[in-house]
Amino acid sequence: MESFPEVHLSGTILVMFPRLASTAPLEAPVFDSETDVRPDRPWIVLVWNDPINLMSYVTFVLQQVFGYPLEKATHLMLDVHEKGRAVVSSGSKEKAEFFVYQLHEYGLWATLQQDDA
């Protein structure tokens, strides 16, 4: 890689590849939360495992957005990586939406939902 780049800059790099033809948005896997409508349940922010974001990057973003110390951020990142997802915060709906937006700004795959616990 030290001899980078041997790329063809004259061509379009962002080719529209056939297997991308579907316009369906990427859906986080749904896990059943039934119809429990107790309004006092907190809202949780989930980060989902994805094959693109680097582990070092995810850890750093969790530190930036939530102010978590390195150990906690690393632990959460490993949870995401090994279990497929992790709850990274819990609280009001407004706060959860704000965090999800920030995580999206950093390109993490984050969703929010009301806790079913």
Partner: protein, 161 residues
């Protein structure tokens, strides 16, 4: 994760980071970022190449999701574009600041998300085997280069935070 033998980002002080790219690397970065800039400027949320860069927030509640996207999607496009613009306008500089490097990190990551989506990257992919005539060859090379660069930037920011 492979590492650069020679670092591309060197912190000269906690507030100043020197960019050590050669001319062809700068040219390649500029080229890919301009293509990403054009793609984001189209602001088409249905473009499949944007699937990972613009994810859903409510996966189980379509109504909330529609409302969230109505309120936030424009901001996210603007934020992504602002970071891309900043990298394009600082790429020829010798040194950049901490906050500029943070923007670089965001811009390179969103670029990587688009490339990874196009390449349909999975955990255990071996992209090094793509033949040069493959239409995705350039995307694969740049994806890997950006991965190394992003890892270096993240560690540099981390140790100077």
């Amino acid at each position: 994760m492979t590492w650069f033998k020679k670092p591309r980002i060197v912190s000269s002080s906690p507030e100043s980071f020197s960019l050590r790219f050669n001319e062809s690397e700068r040219e390649t970065l500029r080229n890919i970022l301009q293509q990403i800039q054009k793609l984001f400027q189209e602001k088409n949320p249905l473009d499949p190449r944007l699937r990972r860069a613009f994810p859903v927030a409510y996966s189980m509640d379509q109504e909330s999701e529609t409302e969230y996207q109505r309120l936030m999607q424009d901001d996210l496009f603007s934020s992504r574009l602002a970071s891309i613009d900043l990298v394009i306008s600082t790429i020829d500089k010798e040194d950049i600041s901490y906050s500029e490097l943070l923007r670089w990190m965001q811009a390179l990551n969103s670029t990587r998300l688009v490339l990874g989506t196009i390449l349909d990257v999975s955990e255990d992919d071996d992209r090094t085997s793509l033949p040069e005539e493959d239409p995705l060859y350039s995307a694969a090379i740049i994806f890997d280069f950006l991965g190394m660069l992003l890892d270096e930037i993240t560690r540099t920011l981390q140790s100077n935070a």
